[in-house]
């Protein structure tokens, strides 16, 4: 039986309660009759033989690129850049796609006699990965061969000696890149395309860039003009990256892009019910839900978090394509849409969503309040093409406990951002104008970013800019079950139950509103007409 596409369910009296994520907890909520629930398509069947698919892609590139072996020669300088810990979500079971791809690239390089090879983690302003995380992504063999000799590095966007300024785009945007990558004879980029935003020119132009370069598109104005940033044709974020990518190509940096897509097989074994439709739950699923939710409710948040963060997703590869960036990415985007696309007719007054425990920026960490906002208003809100799921002036209701908790090692600047910036203003433009530069250039944050495992000082600002489009579009944001003080600090309204939240929402959108629930994860992309 081939996987079924995503669809929109109309809630009636016979519809069972709907699953809502609440961070590390779960609940079943009965939605009002007449509500709609948008379900993602079922996981696509994976490639039967990923290894040969990879090999095939490397030998048969798309766009204006020769097969990889033809690009490799003895004495050349080869750099392999790869996506960081933010992809995929949750981290996948071993072996990671990056390991599979890079092993083959290295085999080809070895046969061609290339001995100047370096691996760079393209983490932009994200935190440096730990040894364990790198071993997970690359495998022990690669790690042990490269890391001890200093040939496996993590991009340092604050090391001037390792950056090179390639010029300005026609809009005057600085393009500053990792020096090793820019000065290599060939830059192979190994990507995992989890959502439509990833990949393309964004891989190199963002992943290997510096603050000087990123600030041109990571700002409130760009984000308000990216509608959505999952739809690259209507995303100013992507336009800027494409301008930069073309400048990088014109500057002579030869990029061999390898992009992969995964299916949405997100939760293993005991958690499998999380990606099934509620009315199809069998006794086993209901039991699993009852057991899991009861256990989680009785488990301290810290322990529940550890349990969830140890989940490794059974994601499998659905496509791999290599070659010239834009040609590759066009194919990739098609594959992403094939897995995640759901057609939805018309907008809604109220959009509800259950926020899970994980976002790209808290793998092995805490979903702090700023990340809660970013996950809901940045990521989930933007999972659309055409029009937002919720109408302008509508209400977004999210469920998440939103504790006042931060990871001191990963998110030190978030703590200060929450205390010092959001206490003054939540307006993204004002936030940017008044505070961004101080945080971005703070030597302490830079020190922690470079020597520890901290996100860059400016990163919480980006999280807030990610929300800019939604903040402008929405009439109100209500967080159900959140820490009231933290929710208010975010500028949102706090409700203790979904019923209360719906009641509060009618103050904004009027009586008898329409309601749509985004049933994710697994991820979906709503094609709203």
């Amino acid at each position: 039986m081939s996987p079924r596409p995503g669809f929109v369910l109309d809630v009636d009296s016979s519809t069972p309660p709907t699953l809502f994520w609440r961070g590390e907890r779960l609940s079943l909520e009965r939605l009002p009759e007449g509500s709609r629930v948008v379900y993602p398509p079922e996981p696509l069947d994976p490639l039967e033989d990923p290894s040969s698919a990879i090999r095939h892609a490397l030998l048969h590139p798309v766009g204006d690129r020769e097969p990889l072996p033809a690009l490799l020669s003895a004495g050349m300088r080869l750099t392999i850049a790869f996506d960081d810990i933010s992809l995929p979500l949750p981290p996948m079971e071993r072996p990671d796609v990056r390991q599979l791809v890079i092993e083959q690239v290295l085999d080809l390089a070895a046969s061609a006699g290339v001995d100047d090879v370096e691996l760079v983690c393209a983490l932009a302003l994200h935190r440096r990965m730990t040894e364990a995380e790198l071993r997970h992504a690359l495998g022990d063999r690669i790690y042990d061969a490269f890391a001890p000799n200093g040939l496996l590095t993590q991009h340092d966007a604050e090391d001037p000696s390792n950056l090179v300024h390639l010029g300005l785009t026609d809009r005057g945007e600085d393009v500053e890149l990792n020096r090793r990558a820019a000065e290599s004879d060939l830059l192979v980029y190994v990507n995992i395309n989890l959502v439509a935003m990833d990949g393309g020119h964004k891989s190199v132009a963002t992943g290997l860039a510096s603050y000087r370069s990123l600030r041109h598109h990571h700002n409130p104005v760009t984000m308000r003009h990216s509608r959505s940033f999952m739809d690259q044709d209507r995303s100013e974020l992507h336009s800027a990256n494409w301008r930069m990518g073309r400048l990088i190509a014109d500057a002579g940096v030869r990029v061999f892009q390898i992009e992969t897509t995964l299916n949405t097989d997100t939760f293993p074994g005991a958690f499998h019910f999380l990606q099934k439709r509620e009315w199809e739950w069998k006794a086993k699923d209901r039991l699993a839900y009852a057991a899991a939710s009861a256990a989680l409710d009785r488990t301290p948040a810290r322990v529940a978090r550890r349990i969830f963060h140890s989940v490794r997703a059974p994601h499998r590869m659905t496509s791999v394509q290599a070659g010239e960036v834009e040609a590759v990415h066009a194919l990739t985007t098609e594959h992403v849409w094939r897995q995640q696309g759901v057609a939805v007719e018309g907008q809604t007054d109220i959009l509800t969503m259950g926020l899970p425990y994980i976002s790209p920026y808290n793998v092995n960490s805490v979903l702090n309040p700023i990340l809660v906002a970013c996950l809901g208003l940045g990521y989930f809100f933007n999972l659309y093409r055409g029009k937002p799921l919720v109408r302008e002036g509508g209400v977004l209701i999210m469920t998440h406990p939103t504790p006042w908790e931060f990871h001191p090692v990963h998110h030190p600047s978030y703590i200060d951002f929450f205390e010092q910036v959001l206490s003054e203003t939540t307006d993204p433009v004002e936030v940017a104008d008044r505070f961004e530069e101080d945080f971005a250039t703070d030597p302490w944050y830079i020190h922690l970013y470079r020597t520890g495992h901290a996100y860059h000082g400016v990163h919480p600002f980006y999280m807030w800019y990610w929300c800019a489009h939604a903040l402008e579009h929405l009439g109100a944001v209500i967080l159900v079950g959140g820490d009231t003080k933290a929710v208010h600090r975010l500028g949102f309204r706090a409700a203790s139950t979904l019923t209360d939240a719906l009641e509060m929402a009618t103050d904004v959108v009027g009586p008898s509103p329409t309601l749509t629930h985004l049933h994710a994860p697994p991820l979906l992309l709503a094609d709203v007409t």
């Binding site: 040894e131 364990a132 071993r135 001890p148 810290r302 960490s365 805490v366 702090n368 504790p403 006042w404 908790e405 931060f406 990871h407 001191p408 090692v409 030190p412 703590i415 200060d416 205390e419 010092q420 703070d442 030597p443 302490w444 020190h447 922690l448 020597t451 520890g452 495992h453 901290a454």
Partner: protein, 814 residues
């Protein structure tokens, strides 16, 4: 016409005690109400201020002078400079310590008014004797000397002496006390004032000697240690000396009270005042024209310079405030008894009027020493019951608020006997003392420790309330009636103009108006208590202190590390570093050993931090320095940062942004704090010697702990041209006191109980900083398992280091 003021106009007055409550009001009235008068003030030189500076700062800038300043406008300063002079001197020393110029100034005065006294009812006996008993005679002696000097010059010299005494010299016996010299009072026991002086002075010597006995000294040292912990030799010595002085003082207060009561006075104040009067009259009654002024309990002004003006926190105020706070539930007294209170401006008016009459009286008509009493009890009696009624009604209407913003309801007064009140207070004081000892023995810090400090404060207040009852109880139980016939006769003799300016008739007081509209509002205002609902003023105070700490004017912010910025310690760091490269089996053994010796380590740390660090750091002997340096970064990012207080880190950077120099002073090792270097301008820390790439385990210099920190801080500030009084120090423990006390703005961070109590008493800023919720919280400070496995473990491996650690550990625990 104004007969008295005309007589006084253009005269010069010599005033002692001008910085006191009565003295300030007197000087103000002389300058405001007497045309062209001048005053010469006898003022004790302060430690940092000349008498002139004190006169300006403590007298002319007091709000008592607001009215005069308003009347004179821009010419105030010039006029005061012309009319007010200050000379150095002290009524506690023979000859007043006057130099020639001062004596000359005195010789050019017309009237000498002696208002200096030790008014506190619990002054040590010898101090009360020196000031209250001998003071008047000393001033009289100076009067005689000045007159001789003037006469030698062909001038008249001072003409009249007005010593201020107290109505209570007549003891508190029942019945009427007339305005007559004490020799005429049959109720006063005839004791020789000279032998009382000798006895008091000998008592001081004996008590001082007793306080220096080895057993006593040991007790003071122990008390100091209990209070401050391992605060360092110097501070402990200082504290123990303070305790000794306090003990001596307490002894002398007790002796004074006992002696006074044995002779029929309630305490040392009226006793010494009474003997002072007698000594004065006996010695100088024939040679110095004098009139004694005896006010009863002086309270806030009825009208001059403005209704309610008061200076200092006086006898009745603490009682009233304790009552309003609900602390003093009852105060002994008989409702029918008379509370003899007299507003300060009536006393001042009486002094001025008596001075005027004295100047009008020709020398040959002077008939010898006489007495004026300024009291309200006979002329306008104010019953104790009525007072209580007015006070509780007022506080029901204008309640004080507790720290939660709840109004405090004042208790019903049942006019109990003194014994019952004392028992009740002693009971609650004992209970609080027990709670305090119990909480104090718990290893707590932060909020709980502050709660402990609050408990201690309550205890202190309860103790003080008990003290009030013991001290002042006698006054509310007084049945004596102080007659004011001579005062009223004076009032009769005054013309209308003088009366308008110098109102001294107690009948002018409407007690209800006085209590409700004048005295209580003024008392409450001065007590700085909470009179509005809502959040505690404590946060307001903390906010103000924090603002002062974060002012751009400050110079240097010094930080302690352990438990101030990071909830970790040298043992954690060591355990993490030493276990970093151990195999899993070895890690378990290592942890077991370290846990086993924890109590021994803790005990050593408590005894002497320097010894502890020296011996603990030996464990690093032979460790490969470069490897540790690399590992230290991991230690920092994995363990220390996770245990850090983000608000503390933010504070360091806030100081830097304000342009303050930031300095980390810690006993931690240089290689451990290296990752913190970008946070601070400078770091002073412990450093181990290094030979052939390995650590020697020996410190290169004394670690900066305890007193060494204060010295390091002072040296650093000196070298950089920064001022410590404009600097901050952040620390968490009483052992950091030397550093905290060295700066102008100490900040206690999550203080442990002892420091919390000290910080509260001294009004230091207290910060409560938390670890970030959401960080990893490892039970044991162990490094992550080394994935490199056995690859590079060998001769150079720190396994050897851990082995050494285990052997050492066993050595210590045995």
């Amino acid at each position: 016409m104004s007969r008295l003021r005309d007589a006084l106009a253009g005269r010069r007055f010599f005033v002692t005690g001008a910085t006191g409550f009565l003295g300030t009001a007197l000087v103000e009235r002389l300058l405001r109400a007497v045309p062209d008068s001048e005053v010469v003030l006898l003022i004790r030189p302060g430690r940092r201020a000349t008498p002139g500076q004190r006169a300006t700062r403590e007298i002319l800038r007091n709000d008592c002078f607001d009215r005069l300043r308003g009347e004179l406008g821009a010419s105030f300063d010039d006029e005061m400079a012309r009319r007010v002079a200050a000379v150095a001197g002290d009524v506690g020393t023979d000859g007043l310590g006057l130099d020639d110029a001062a004596l000359d100034a005195l010789s050019r005065c017309d009237v000498v008014i002696h208002a200096a006294a030790t008014v506190s009812f619990d002054a040590p006996l010898d101090a009360a004797v020196e000031v209250n008993l001998l003071g008047p005679s000393r001033v009289a002696a100076a009067f005689v000397a000045a007159r001789a000097l003037a006469e030698a010059d062909g001038r008249a010299g001072p003409r009249h002496f007005l010593p201020v005494s107290t109505a209570y010299v007549a003891s508190t016996h029942q019945g009427e006390a007339r305005e007559e010299l004490l020799d005429a009072n049959p109720f006063i026991v005839d004791v020789d004032w000279r032998s009382e002086v000798t006895a008091a002075r000998r008592q001081r010597g004996d008590t001082e000697a007793e306080s220096r006995r080895p057993e006593r000294l040991a007790r003071f040292s122990k008390a100091a240690r209990d209070e401050l912990g391992a605060a360092g030799l110097h501070l402990l010595a200082e504290r123990s000396e303070r305790l000794r002085e306090d003990w001596v003082k307490a002894q002398l207060v007790e002796v004074g009270q006992a002696r006074a009561q044995s002779l029929g006075w309630p305490d040392a104040y009226p006793y010494t005042k009474a003997l002072g009067e007698r000594a004065l009259v006996a010695e100088y009654g024939d040679t110095v024209p004098l009139t004694i002024i005896r006010p009863s309990i002086i309270e806030s002004a009825l009208a001059e310079p403005r209704p309610g003006w008061i200076r200092g926190f006086r006898m009745a105020e603490p009682i009233i405030i304790s009552y309003a706070r609900g602390l003093l539930r009852e105060f002994p007294g008989v409702p029918e008894g008379v509370t003899d209170v007299i507003p300060v401006d009536l006393v001042v008016a009486a002094i001025v009027a008596v001075a005027g009459e004295a100047l009008l009286t020709p020398a040959d008509e002077y008939v010898g020493p006489s007495v004026y009493q300024v009291a309200s009890g006979v002329r306008n009696p104010f019953r104790y019951g009525r007072l209580v009624e007015l006070v509780s009604a007022w506080f029901l209407e204008h309640p004080l608020y507790d720290t939660d913003g709840q109004p405090i309801v004042v208790p019903e007064w049942s006019f109990p006997g003194r014994g019952r009140v004392q028992r009740q207070l002693a009971r609650s004081s004992r209970a609080m003392g027990m709670a305090e000892r119990l909480v104090g023995s718990l290893p707590i810090r932060g909020k709980q420790a502050q709660w402990m400090a609050a408990l201690e404060e309550q205890h202190l207040l309860a103790d003080r309330a008990l003290g009030y009852v013991e001290l002042y109880g006698a006054y509310t139980e007084t049945d004596a009636l102080y007659r004011v016939d001579r005062l009223l006769a004076l009032w009769e003799r005054m013309d209308a103009d003088d009366r308008a300016v110098l109102c001294l008739d107690p009948a002018a007081i409407d007690w209800a108006v006085y209590v409700r509209e004048i005295h209580l509002p003024s008392v409450v205002e001065h007590a700085r208590v909470k009179t509005t609902p809502g959040k505690s003023t404590k946060t307001g105070r903390a906010e103000r202190t924090r603002k002062a700490v974060l002012s751009p004017d400050r110079h240097l912010a010094a930080f302690d590390l352990e438990n101030t910025l990071i909830a970790s310690n040298v043992v954690d760091s060591y355990a993490w570093l030493a276990s970093r490269h151990l195999a899993p089996g070895e890690r378990v053994a290592f942890v077991a050993d370290l846990v086993a010796e924890a109590p021994a380590l803790l005990a050593l740390d408590r005894r002497d931090r320097g010894d502890f660090l020296r011996s603990f750091y030996r464990r690093y002997e032979g460790a490969p320095a470069d490897r540790l340096r690399d590992d230290a970064f991991e230690l920092f990012h994995h363990l220390l940062l996770a245990k850090s207080f983000p608000a503390g880190m933010a504070r360091v950077r806030e100081h830097r942004a304000l342009g303050h120099r930031t300095l980390l002073i810690t006993g931690a090792l240089d290689l451990v704090v290296e990752p913190l270097r970008p946070l601070f301008d400078d770091i002073v820390c412990a450093r181990l010697g290094e030979a052939d790439g390995r650590l020697t385990g020996r410190l290169e210099q004394l670690p900066p702990i305890g007193e060494a920190r204060a010295i390091v801080l002072a040296e650093y500030a000196g070298a950089e041209g920064l001022h410590l009084e404009e600097s901050m120090a952040y620390a968490d423990s009483a052992s950091d006191l030397p550093m905290l006390e060295a700066v102008g703005f100490p900040v206690a961070v999550n203080p442990e109980a002892k420091l919390a109590a000290i910080a509260r008493r001294r009004g230091w800023l207290v910060e409560t900083w938390h670890k970030a919720e959401g960080g990893a919280n490892p039970l044991l400070p162990l490094g992550p398992v080394d994935h490199r496995g056995a690859l590079d473990r060998g001769r150079t491996s720190p396994a050897a280091l851990a082995g050494r650690a285990r052997r050492l550990a066993r050595g210590v625990t045995r």
